[in-house]
Amino acid sequence: MTIGQVVPAAPSIVKAAWRMWRTRIGALIVLVLVAFALFGRFLAPFGENESLGLPNKANIEGSWLGTGKLGYDVWTRFLYGGRPILVQAVLSTVLALSLGTLVGLVAAYNRRRLDDFLMRAMDVILALPQIILVLVVIAMFGAKAWLVVLAVGLSTVPRIARVVRGAAVAVVERDFVASAEALGESRPRILVSEILPNVIAPLLVEANLRLTYAVGIIGGIGFLGFTSDPGAANWGLMINEHRGVLAAEQPWGTMLPVTAIALLTIATGLIADGVSRAAAGIDRGTAQA
């Protein structure tokens, strides 16, 4: 995006993205999975920790897909297990977006020393792979849900800050920022109402991408066996508990949650792609067609 170009406003990005089939398909899948994850438990035929007797059996009287670990009903555990992953992923992404945007905007607007300091600090956080940071935190305090949210969120901040700073640096140079300064607008006001609206497009793309990765990391942490309540249903943990019987008669304990996580990440990825195509299209002036 070069200086002087007309920057697309947020509503037109969303509209242009919505015109694409990939965005609509992605949104539909996300909607269905979110509904399952949040409300599925009300349709569950059994209790979350209700054992039907024999573990890992495909043909159990009254059970649709059979039983899994400890004789729990696989379908019931699946209906319960989506919520923790989804809620944690969304919360950590929201945390990362708000803090990352703040750091990026402040760095871009202030330049020089503060910019240098903030971005170097971000580089240091980026110097550790995200999953290692999260594991170090879990090693310290245990796999508490809010800690996982905090760790994933904070380790995502530098990635968002970089994108926002990159987009905002060009905006800061523009005339309307100078005129807002001349009019004596306060710093926070300039950041929020002059600069922020002009970095919405890359921010929206980044938000969807980061949500995709957050689902992957939080699902992966569960898969490694680190969840706040080892007895509660969780798609990641569920995969780990049942992959041993994948080859035997009972594949559903693995298949259901793996497929759900796969669909969820592909769907949010599709939305991210739709938004980024819309942003690029508006940039080139082709999306209006």
Binding site: I132, M140, I217, F223
Partner: protein
Amino acid sequence: MGVWKFVGRRILLGLVTLWVVSVVVFAATQLLPSDPARAILGRDATEASIKALQEKLGLDRPPVEQYTSWLAGLLTGDPGESFNARVPIGEYIGDRVYNSMFLLVLASVFSIPLSLIIGAYTARKRDRAFDNITSNIMLALASLPEFVVGLFLVLLFATRYWKILPAVTAIGAGGPWEHLDQMILPTATLVLGAVPYIARTARASIIEVNESDYVEMARLKGAPEKTVLWRHAVPNALGPVFQVIALNIAYFAGGVIVVEFLFNYPGIGGALAASVRVRDTPVIQFLAMVLAGVYVLTNMLADLATVFVTPRLRTRLK
């Protein structure tokens, strides 16, 4: 600014980053709420024996002193002793470092050329059917977490459909060379995770270079297409490609944790997950530093290589 000054500054920045990472890793793991000495000896231990072990492990010394002796140990190749296994870390981890390196190299050998070929080919056939199909497949693959990709591979090739490959690894004394069939699925998982990133970036940078002024200029002055490609386009596209290769290796440094755990592969990623479970602080500290070190070094090398291969940057720095 001369090229060498840039090189010096970049190396210094890398070292400073590593030092800050070491402080963070040490401080974080040192905040453990549970006392390792107590954890090792169990509930029935006497106060005297706990005190003795605390002294032996150096836990009674002030934190700064603990940090400096830990750092000195790291630098001199003596990272301490595993709390859990009670053997020196070098001994405990040695084979695992080799195994992980083997897996990383094997994955890179496939993923880097494969993604560059896909990137170059899709850039040339831009917006045609092949490009569209691959870009959608790449999009899906890039969204999927490694453990999901790995499990689908296990599902397809090792358990339910074609039972042609082992579902987990069992690397014995012979090391990974002797069990190449077991390496296929872990390697494939990492390759499928990394290729979408590299291929996409390679495609984008080749397109950008292809549409640039200097390539246009070369075409206009009538240079043959081969010269345009190799003299003008490729050298300028190499910089971003180096960056992506570095990102790719960095991606592996995180990805190995879940992939090694999934395939029960005896590497450092699996070891890190296991150490977190038993809170083996020295091993966690050491492995976090090793993986961060790999990450910082590859990024630094990529930055340096980029400056040396990109004609525009080289001249701008002079």
